[in-house]
Amino acid sequence: MRKYVFPYGFRLSLKEKKIISFPAIAVSLIKKDSKEEFSFLVLIDSGAEVSLFTKSDSQLLGIPLDKGEKIEIGSASGDKFSAFLHPVILKIGDERFKIKVAFSEKDNVPRILGRNPAFSYFFIIFDNKNRNTIFIPRKDKAFEKLIYQ
């Protein structure tokens, strides 16, 4: 069974030397018809419907932001903004998928790996105790068999 074990991706040191860590992984984005890969550390967020990147990320990839399908995004803090869906190649480990991700109209948003459709390509296990996130590609049927038989 093929699997990827990612330690929680980045740690923030806060006041009073408190350190918090996040389930985050490095993913790569490749623009359609391009070979250049750009890498981003993204939060794995099962609460987010789509994967989100910044306006500047679209510029880095050479994607014309406002040519995509416009959607409205809201955050738990009450913040609302527009974003545009664009097809890209998303790379996690050695796995590549052609999916649509959202690029925000602004820059100061956190990058997020959301459910649709990225989560559909993997079983994802949050091992919070050991601070690991485990990605098991769905194309390998062994794990699916194990949990559903």
Binding site: M1, R2, K3, Y4, V5, F6, P7, Y8, G9, F10, R11, L12, S13, L14, K15, I19, S21, I25, A26, S28, E36, E37, F38, S39, F40, L41, L43, D45, G47, A48, E49, V50, L52, T54, K55, S56, D57, Q59, L60, I71, E72, I73, G74, S75, A76, S77, K80, G93, D94, D107, N108, V109, P110, R111, I112, G114, D140
Partner: protein, 75 residues
């Protein structure tokens, strides 16, 4: 039977001073912050100046949150 397991090394995980970098874009090489900027493009270009031979994919961009809350949904 395990055919393949890929484990990312913990040494590559950056420790980021929130008070210093909050709201900024940082560029990481080998788990260390090597450049920063207001945007990912700026942080990437600053990192490229320091590491011109690095492939684009070897420079990892991270958006350090402004706040501690970041949960999104489609309206």
């Amino acid at each position: 039977m395990i055919k393949k397991s890929v484990k990312i090394q913990k040494k590559d995980i950056p420790l980021i001073d929130f008070s210093k970098f909050r709201g900024k874009e940082v560029a990481l090489v080998g788990g260390k912050i090597v450049a920063e900027g207001k945007t990912s493009k700026e942080a990437f270009e600053n990192a490229k100046k320091i590491f011109p031979k690095k492939l684009s994919k070897e420079i990892i961009l991270l958006s350090v949150p402004k706040e501690e809350i970041f949960v999104y949904f489609i309206l």
